[in-house]
């Protein structure tokens, strides 16, 4: 009697597990574990029709305009090439892109074609392969890591600067754009006097801190010494040096006096609404915001300029860094996939497609081929900056590579430290000493 009951029970359990694994099996078709079968399935049913291939693609979706641009390109590519299926596994999450990639890797879902932002780290870990050499011809001197090119750069890093409300400037009686940093501060005073919050900062999202922090770092440090990071690792320079301290003091004073009080709980994605609703006059950010702002309020009039330093020189972000599309090591072992991916990459960079991508996020092309698009008045300023030989081009602290790469975990910690610096009104020198200690510890830890 009992045994019959157990038999029934175990049958149910067995059936349930079969059902579950069947359900699971179906839905995991996109994962790399099933890679080999996809090709051969295609073969069996293909005949002389092109082989069915599928690969996964992953990219940062934090910015809605970028996301749409890439997703649209993927759609169009699939329509033009019905035998190639691209499974888009990108997920918008509030977490950083690196976090997301790590998660995907931990669960074995590392994308076949992946947007790389921390190229060196993943290259060293053996997760990505070199860009196939036949694709190199598309680009103008792409950056190399360890002498190799690992990415198809999606864009050249473009300058960041002040996005300002024309109305707010008018009402504060500002008629000229600043030619020096001191004039910029004067403008802030005028804005404050006219009753509007001068600057909005999306401090809740740690990456947003980088915009301002790097502006000061570039002016005082990187514009004159692009190899500062490697020197810091070798302990030849320090965060307590006068130039860094000056940079951070400027940052601290700006934040304490002219940034909207709620900056620590304002998210990056709220900054556009702040501008268009007149809650703040300026936002320091990059070209991808132009589209966001225009969408938030098509009638909002805004301008863009880069803030000069005290001597009136303009230094901006504008060097290329190793970032862009990369092929994962796993995918590279499947020749069919690699072919399909290369096809997609070529498609992506074709002027008619690439221009759409660039236009949606106001980016600067990285290809040899001239790609142009209707650019807004703000974008024209950016292009002028890039074309002006007197404007020094540089990079943010975490975008340098090779000898100049900082420990990957340093950036977030440093930005958080700087938040604390403002909030607790700390002594800049003391805080910079802490930065030195932490930097050295991290270098040591990573070397182990």
């Amino acid at each position: 009697m009992a045994s019959r009951r157990w038999l029934k029970l175990s049958t149910v359990v067995l059936a349930a597990s079969l059902v579950l694994s069947a359900c699971g099996g179906g839905s995991s078709s996109g994962s790399t574990a099933n890679t080999p079968t996809t090709g051969s399935n295609g073969n069996a049913s293909g005949g002389e029709a092109p082989k069915e291939v599928s690969f996964t693609i992953g990219y940062a979706t934090g910015d809605p305009a970028t996301k749409k641009a890439i997703a649209d390109t993927v759609q169009r590519f699939m329509e033009a090439n019905p035998h190639i299926k691209i499974k888009d596994i990108s997920e918008t999450s509030s977490a950083a892109y690196l976090d997301w990639l790590k998660t995907k890797d931990a669960v074995g879902e590392f994308p076949d074609l992946v947007e790389m932002r921390d190229t060196e780290v993943f290259a060293d870990a053996g997760k990505i392969v070199e860009l196939p050499s036949d694709l190199l011809e598309l680009f103008n001197d792409p950056p190399k890591v360890d002498g190799k090119v690992w990415n198809a750069p999606m864009q050249v890093n473009s300058p960041q600067g002040i996005i300002y409300s024309k109305k707010a400037y008018e009402e504060a009686g500002i008629t000229e754009l600043p030619k020096t940093y001191d004039e910029f501060i004067e403008i802030q005073e005028k804005l404050k006097a006219s009753g509007i919050s001068p600057i909005v900062v999306g401090g809740k999202d740690i990456f947003h801190m980088g915009f301002w922090v790097n502006k000061f770092l570039i002016d005082q440090v990187y514009a004159n010494d692009p190899d500062w990071n490697s020197k810091r690792t070798a302990k030849q320079v320090s965060f307590t040096d006068a130039n860094v301290v000056q940079a951070m003091t400027d940052y601290k004073e700006l934040f304490q006096n002219y940034v909207d009080k709620g900056w620590l709980s304002t998210g990056d994605n709220q900054t556009a609404s702040f501008l268009v609703t007149g809650k703040a006059a300026q936002l320091y950010s990059g070209t991808w915001m132009f589209t966001q702002i225009a969408e938030a309020d098509p009638n909002f009039e805004f301008g863009f300029y880069a803030i000069p330093d005290r001597e009136g020189k303009v230094n901006v972000i504008g060097l290329p860094s190793p970032a862009g599309w990369s092929i994962s090591t796993e995918a590279s072992e499947d020749m069919d996939k690699v072919e399909a991916i290369k096809q997609f990459i070529r498609y992506f960079f074709e002027p008619e497609n690439y221009s759409l991508y660039l236009a949606s996020i106001n980016a600067i092309p990285s290809t040899k081929e001239q790609v142009s698009y209707e650019s807004s008045e703000q974008m024209k300023v950016v292009l002028e900056l890039m074309a002006d030989p007197n404007v020094k081009k540089s990079l943010a602290i975490n975008n340098w590579w090779g000898e100049n790469q900082i420990p990957p975990q340093f950036r977030n910690w440093y930005y958080k430290l700087l938040q604390e610096l403002v909030v607790k009104d700390g002594d800049v020198l003391e805080y910079m000493k802490q930065a030195d200690t932490e930097y050295d510890n991290e270098v040591k830890a990573n070397a182990m």
Partner: protein, 308 residues
């Protein structure tokens, strides 16, 4: 197992039963044992291994570095800060959650009308997802658009509007607020059951003897709640030490490092910043802290129970 004495007169049957027992006990425990070992213990052991390495979480290359991670944890000011935050948060949470829980339980017990409705209202937040409600709280406490600040402004207390999530003085408070709101109801139910187990006559007799409300509480109610207190304190302590959702969603450990707790540090540095070996070592440390505190707590509270 005094009951088995009744059957001990038949030694043979007893021995035979014991043999039957044994195999069945094994059979009963086996499925749980297998699943638990496979999906909890094995990965934990794997983690223990990783905590002695400098693995970054993605390379195939795993390098053994001995106790270096633990040395770093011992020396790191960031870990000390996280430890401090964790302890402050935990103690505050345990005290506040239990205080509110007892208060609410007593109110629900004593209120003459609609007690079920009130019980439901206080208990309901526990059922919700920490992540989801964390977002709601974050939006409510937003400096510019949040309802709390706007409400304060409307009723004339505009001077009290603060950046709840961005001001270091208040960030911890904000986390406490949303967590107590979510947790108190759960413990309230336990205390309520305990309260309802206290015979009315005791309190009545005491008031006849002239004891006032506070005295009754101190000498009758509270001691008789000792069992519930033990359970709730232990549960709330373990839960507080592992708090994560609210911090992830509301403050990201900030502003600066103000609300960074051990669990959050493990996630942020170990997982998010490519220091899996270090993160795992930190998790081991956290586990030991939880273990020690729990054992300690249970011993103390049980002693009190007996005394009472």
């Amino acid at each position: 197992m005094a009951v088995s004495a009744a059957n001990s007169d038949n030694a043979y049957t007893a021995a035979k039963k014991k043999k039957k027992w044994q195999s069945y006990a094994l059979f009963f425990i086996l499925p749980s044992f297998i699943l638990y070992t496979l999906f909890v213990i094995v990965p934990t052991i794997g983690s223990v291994y990783y905590s002695f390495t400098s693995w970054d979480g993605i390379s195939a290359d795993v390098r053994f570095i001995g106790l270096a991670n633990f040395v770093e944890i011992w020396n790191s000011p960031r870990v000390h800060n996280a430890l401090q935050n964790t302890l402050i948060l935990t103690i505050s949470l345990v005290v506040l959650e239990n205080l509110f829980a007892i208060l609410l339980a007593m109110l629900v017990d004593k209120v003459r009308w609609l007690s079920n409705l009130f019980r439901s209202i206080f208990y309901f937040p526990t059922l919700l997802s920490g992540i989801v409600m964390g977002f709601v709280w974050a939006m409510m406490l937003n400096y510019n658009f949040g309802v709390v600040n706007q409400l304060l402004a409307k009723i004339g207390l505009g001077a009290f509007t603060v950046d709840w999530l961005g001001d270091p003085r208040f960030a911890m408070l904000a986390i406490l607020l949303s967590t107590v709101w979510k947790g108190a109801g759960y413990y309230m139910i336990i205390y309520l059951a305990g309260l309802q187990g206290i015979p009315q006559e005791l309190n009545e007799a005491a008031s006849i003897d002239g004891a006032n409300g506070w005295q009754q509480f101190r000498h009758i109610t509270f001691p008789l709640l000792a069992g519930s207190v033990t359970v709730c304190m232990v549960l709330s302590m373990i839960s507080a030490l592992k708090i994560f959702d609210q911090i992830a969603v509301m403050t990201d450990g900030g502003p600066g490092f103000e609300t960074e707790t051990l669990t959050y540090l493990i996630y942020k540095v170990g997982f998010g910043e490519l220091r899996q070996g270090f993160g795992t070592a930190l998790a081991m440390v956290l586990f030991f802290i939880i273990l020690i505190i729990t054992v300690f707590q249970v011993k103390i509270l049980q002693k009190r129970e007996v005394e009472m």
